[in-house]
């Protein structure tokens, strides 16, 4: 029997503020899982700390709600140990680009075949509205005592610099668009990053739903071609995507900025060294026989140490 969207919803009360963009992102995740007909037990939704961190609890699939900023290390460990699992990491902008920025960058370098969603509302919601790394310089959202003294970082450009091979932006109130992006991200061979612009109705009184509507437009409707089809195109497409990512203000593009499946995934890189890696990844190796005796033969190891 086909899995329905509602099959991916736990009965738990979702305690986000009314109007929170997290509802849209959560719905899109469920829609994408249903469209791809992924069995809940084969999916792992990994989150960090903050309002977005609760996403796994409301999703009927394996859920790992981790530490602040550590979404990607946990997700990486899970995926590496068992690459058959569909790993979707979802965390806040402070989580991924502030406290976890080092992990964000290094996950790009690896290009593991998983998906990372950033809930980007420019504030730290759960601690009551401090500035996140994506809040623009000089902005003073509701609970800031002074205007923001730091410049905003550009998640799309950072992802490009770090080596993500699928980079997209979506908008939390356009669940159908986000679902489409997520399906592509999950199906992408390599590390996919989706930055979701998300109003925070409680603390971000600047980038509101009204502010976004009329500004957001879809890249795919402008003939934008994000796909790197051969290595010669790589530089030009990267530069074009960076240029596009700086478009912000009256017009905010959403959609897929960049996609490059020519870069080997981390799984492929390991497989070059461990040819049976995908068949027998760490979690699936037989480590003992029926008597509990270890299966590893230590003779060769000791032989090397013999005198």
């Amino acid at each position: 029997m086909a899995l329905k969207i509602s099959d991916y919803r736990t009965p738990l009360f979702a305690d986000w503020c009314p109007g929170c963009g997290d509802f849209g992102i959560h719905t899109s995740i469920q829609m994408a899982l249903a469209e791809l007909q992924l069995e809940p037990q084969t999916v792992v939704v990994v989150s960090g700390i903050g309002c977005s961190g609760k996403t796994p609890h409301f999703t009927y699939a394996n859920g790992v709600h981790t530490l602040h900023g550590r979404t990607l290390p946990f997700a990486t460990g899970i995926k590496l140990a068992n690459p058959d699992l569909e790993v979707i990491a979802a965390g806040g902008d402070g989580d991924g680009l502030g406290i976890g920025a080092g992990h964000f960058v290094n996950a790009g370098r690896r290009n593991l075949d998983m998906t990372y969603i950033i809930h980007d509302n420019a504030v730290y919601g759960l601690t009551k509205g401090q500035a996140s790394p994506t809040l623009r310089l000089g902005m003073q959202t509701k609970s800031l005592p002074k205007p923001n003294i730091n410049s905003a970082l550009n998640p799309i450009a950072l992802a490009l610099a770090a080596g993500y091979t699928f980079i997209a932006r979506s908008y939390a109130y356009d669940v159908r668009h986000m679902k489409n992006i997520l399906v592509q991200a999950i199906e992408h061979k390599g590390m996919a990053f989706v930055n979701v612009q998300q109003p925070c109705p409680t603390y971000n009184n600047i980038n509101t739903k009204d502010w976004y509507s009329g500004r957001v437009y879809k890249l795919e409707e402008t003939g934008w071609d994000p796909v790197v089809k051969n290595l010669d195109e790589e530089l030009d497409k990267t530069v074009a995507a960076i240029r596009k990512s700086r478009e912000w203000g009256d017009k905010i593009p959403i959609g897929v900025f960049y996609k490059n499946e020519l870069v080997p995934t981390y799984e492929e890189r390991i497989s070059k060294r461990i040819p049976f890696y995908t068949k027998k990844p760490p979690a699936k190796q037989q480590i003992r026989d029926e008597t509990g005796t270890p299966t590893a033969v230590m003779d060769e190891w000791f032989k090397e140490l013999k005198v």
Binding site: L67, F74, T291
Partner: protein, 641 residues
């Protein structure tokens, strides 16, 4: 200290081949049937600062270094300055002839605080300002000095091989030192050649050239110094197969045997050696087919511990390896693993602390840290090995504890073991078992009903790994209910805290005593020594010496530090009159933990925190003071350079 025993030291600037030389020397002795224990000392530096290797070679097994040096091979003036006083009467010093003219003030690598102390020593003895003056003074102690024109010998080698640039062969000074040493010791040339080949590769050009250099030095010493050195090293019959094992290798091997298939790490001294060794050996044989370990170098230790947790959730036996500064970063992740009952293993290589401390030196400063690390209260097991063999078996067993009790296990080792090498006869692996605890598969779970944190009598819940068919589960660092969903309910909170902590009691009850403690010597002796970790070797050897003098002692080596096997410790403490703890830290951490858990206080504390491992000699002397009633309550050992 025994009849057929030799203490050989080689020293020089880092990067000058001290390690290679010691490797060759050790192997050559091993081929000739000798046991050995060797320790490596080095600065936190890549090239130029002083490093040395101290080998103890014996016809019987050895487990620690002693203070004596019978033969010192010095590549440079600093080695002579730092170590000549350790050379025993009738011992020998091999040195570069030209170094005799070196003025102490010209040795740029000598730290000011050392130079100041050394100057006082020189003045008190009326020694002049050159290395030669110091050497002349040493001769009064009846030390043999063997000046060698290393450069001339190297030139000979270069000429013979048609090499124009002398810089291409200067590194072979180390093999020359080996040649001189073995010539003085009148040792079997064939065994040394075999060792050189083993180190450089059987057929390599480099091996050939090194053998040439070795022979040149060997013959030079024969002609120049003849039979002047009293120590001889004769070939023994090698009765059984032996291995030389470094601590980090032992742990790596133990992990593979124990089923570890994923290791994460961030580079740090001295822990990184283990991960690199594993990566170099990532493919290995299983009884049927092939196995592999995935080794991942992460962006930091925070990622390392949390990736290991992720892998463990997915069902792999996963570990990370680190040292103090790295573990500090792992602490939040440790707390998460404790709260989420994740079976990870952390190999913790202690080094001199606090902060960056003594990055390449030894210490046991972190016992209390590992027991208490993490905010909140959660169960963990802390296990400390005392030698390379224990490192091996404990590393394997750590995963059984982790999975049986679903909690993090910290395997505490230290720099003294990590970088020391010891000879062993082959280990018997026939009793090694992998116990995965209450792990459930798809046939054990009813679809939709699985509870990862189900309340049970033992506290241990049936564990399904991520991806188990029919089982969907949740984890969170928040307090949670049986399903793994966030819960702040007071009633549930109590149940969960009690469930988690109950596991520690279960572990305490179930793990057999012989895995938690070792007892050596006389159970009813009037003096009982308690210790943990690498001082074990020096303690055992000191006890043996004292026994031959008629002093009986007991030694309780505590291997499981948390949960502490306190009942057994109390039993032993009650039988004895004099209680001594021996450990490599300032405050006596084991002593205070024992007091905290048992209410019993130690009579004597033998401590050391200068960054250099305890030697048999100094432990023996410290014990003797206690036995004679001449010891202060707190003895701080200071040997080492």
């Amino acid at each position: 200290m025994t009849s057929k025993e030799l203490n050989w030291m080689i020293g020089g600037p880092q990067g000058s081949g001290v390690d290679t030389a010691s490797n060759i020397f050790g192997r050559a002795c091993g081929y000739g049937g000798y046991h050995l224990y060797g320790k490596r000392e080095y600065h936190s530096n890549i090239k130029g600062l002083h490093s040395y290797f101290h080998f103890r070679i014996s016809e019987k097994p050895v487990a620690a270094n002693v203070n004596d040096v019978d033969l010192l091979a010095a590549f440079d003036a600093e080695t002579i300055v730092r170590h000549i006083q350790e050379v025993v009467p009738k011992g020998g010093v091999i040195l570069e002839k030209e170094d005799l003219n070196t003025k102490f003030s010209d040795i740029q690598t000598l730290p000011a605080e050392f130079a100041a102390e050394f100057q006082k020593y020189l003045e008190s003895k009326g020694i002049g300002e050159t290395v030669g003056d110091l050497v002349e003074d040493a001769k009064k102690k009846n030390i043999n000095v063997y000046p060698v024109p290393f450069l001339d010998l190297l030139k000979d080698v270069a000429d013979e091989r048609g090499i124009e640039k002398l810089s291409k062969v200067t590194r072979m000074k180390n093999v020359l030192a080996i040649g001189i040493s073995f010539s003085l010791l009148d040792y079997d040339v064939g065994l040394v050649e075999k060792a050189i080949k083993a180190v450089f590769g059987e057929k390599s050009n480099i091996a050939d050239m090194n053998i040439l250099a070795f022979k040149k030095a060997y013959n030079y010493a024969r002609q120049t110094f003849g039979n002047s050195f009293k120590h001889k090293l004769e070939k023994l019959d090698l009765a059984e197969e032996r291995i030389f094992l470094l601590g980090f290798q032992a742990i790596a091997l133990g992990k593979v045997l124990g089923g570890c298939r994923m290791q994460t790490y961030y580079p740090i001294t001295p822990a990184a050696d283990e991960s690199e060794y594993l990566e170099a050996h990532e493919l290995f044989k299983l009884k049927k087919g092939d196995g592999a370990i995935v080794v991942m170098q992460t962006e930091d230790e925070i990622a390392a511990v949390n990736m290991a947790s992720g892998a463990a959730l997915a069902g792999a036996r996963a570990a990370t390896a680190t040292s103090g500064p790295g573990f500090s970063l792992m602490v939040e992740g440790l707390s998460w693993a404790g709260n989420n009952e994740v079976p990870i293993v952390i190999s913790y290589y202690q080094r001199g602390a606090p902060s960056t401390g003594l990055p390449t030196r030894h210490g046991q400063d972190d016992l209390r840290f590992t027991i208490h690390a993490g905010h909140g209260e959660f169960p963990r097991i802390v296990l400390a090995s005392g030698d390379m063999k224990e490192c091996f078996f404990d590393a394997a067993k750590a995963f059984n504890y982790a999975e049986r009790y679903q909690m993090p296990v910290i395997h505490l080792v230290d720099k003294a073991m990590a970088n020391s090498t010891q000879s062993y006869t082959l280990f018997d692996l026939s009793r090694a078992r992998i116990e995965r605890g209450n792990i459930v598969s798809s046939k054990d779970v009813k679809k939709g009903e699985y509870k990862r944190f189900k309340f049970t009598d033992s506290g241990v819940s049936p564990r399904a790994v991520l991806g188990t068919e029919g089982a969907v589960m949740w984890y969170t660092g928040d307090e949670h209910n049986e399903l793994g969903h966030i819960s702040e309910e007071p009633f549930n909170r109590n149940m969960m805290m009690e469930k988690r902590m109950k596991k520690l009691e279960t572990a305490h009850k179930e793990i057999p005593l012989e895995e938690k403690l070792n007892f050596f010597g006389q159970e009813d002796a009037e003096t009982l020594v308690l210790s943990w970790g690498s001082p074990k070797g020096a303690i055992l050897e000191a006890m043996e010496l004292l026994q031959s003098e008629g002093f009986e002692m007991g030694f309780l080596q505590v291997r499981m530090l948390h949960p502490l096997p306190k009942e057994r410790i109390i039993e032993a403490l009650k039988k004895t009159k004099t209680k001594i703890t021996v450990e490599m830290n300032y405050s006596g951490q084991l002593a205070s933990i024992i007091s905290e858990k048992t209410g019993i206080f130690m009579d004597y504390y033998i401590l050391k925190y200068n960054g250099r491992p305890m030697t048999t000699t100094e432990v023996y002397e410290a014990f003797k003071k206690v036995l004679r009633g001449e010891a202060p309550k707190r003895q701080v050992l200071t040997y080492g350079s």
